[in-house]
């Protein structure tokens, strides 16, 4: 029983380490086969187990993390071409196409939209805060 519990914890730790490796190295040229080796899994077994927990294959998860990071950078105003390479893509056109497929709009539209929101936040901050909270803070009187 204890042995079974230990094996379960060991199994989870290896998969979590693999996920955290992707989280930390998403911008690098990651070889998912190496991650499987480091996690002491065969490649096929690793992909199956990873998907059973995270509902994405390791490759799908890597793309997901890269696009999420791209969205974060674009929100801060970083230009599209810089974002593309910063999150690990090697071609601007494939980055833009993938981004549009997943997010629904191109990276440049996403960047423009968030730049507009930033301007609106500075101009009319109370439009982004529920009035009941703003009132409690005393922000409505200012």
């Amino acid at each position: 029983m204890i042995n079974e519990q230990y094996l379960k914890i060991y199994f989870y730790r290896r998969l979590v380490q693999a996920k955290l490796f992707i989280d930390a190295h998403y911008a690098d040229n990651i070889d998912l086969g190496n991650i499987a080796d480091e996690a002491y899994f065969s490649k096929f077994h690793f992909i199956r187990q990873f998907k059973s927990i995270y509902r994405k294959t390791p490759h799908q998860y890597l793309i997901f993390v890269r696009i999420e990071k791209a969205m974060e950078l674009l929100k801060t105003g970083v230009p599209v071409s810089e974002v593309c390479y910063a999150v690990g893509f090697e071609s601007l056109s494939s980055f833009s196409a993938l981004f549009k497929r997943i997010v629904g709009i191109t990276p440049s539209t996403y960047l423009t939209q968030h730049q507009k929101i930033k301007v609106q936040i500075v101009k009319s901050p109370l439009n982004f805060i529920p009035a009941c909270f703003a009132e409690k803070y005393g922000w409505l009187e200012k």
Binding site: L20, P125, K136, Y137
Partner: protein
Amino acid sequence: MTHVNIYVLNQESALDFYTNKFGLKIITDVPMSKDTRWLTVGTPEQPGFEINLTPITEELFSKETAEALRELVKKGTFGVGIFTCNDIFATYEELKAKGVEFTKPPKKEFYGTEALFKDDSGNWFSLAQLN
């Protein structure tokens, strides 16, 4: 529900906890003064639900109330809510690896499997995988 307050001791440190350790995303970040921001976090899996990281300040409470509330939060008085996840053991191992403090490891209950953790202020939560 669309908004909920979590009273925190330090907004900047809470932001680091809820985003970098716990994995939530910033939804709204509106600077209101040099020291105050309207800051909400949430998860893409539950759009429309925002957690307002509310610093316990004298802008919102009297000096006495703020001091008392800070003490109560620090002592771990408040159980704020339940976060659910798809795989409790994977989430538990990941959050532990990121430095989240658990006060109870995953344990089977009649409704699922549950662990307890604290945020950086002292608020406690359940992390559960429901049946």
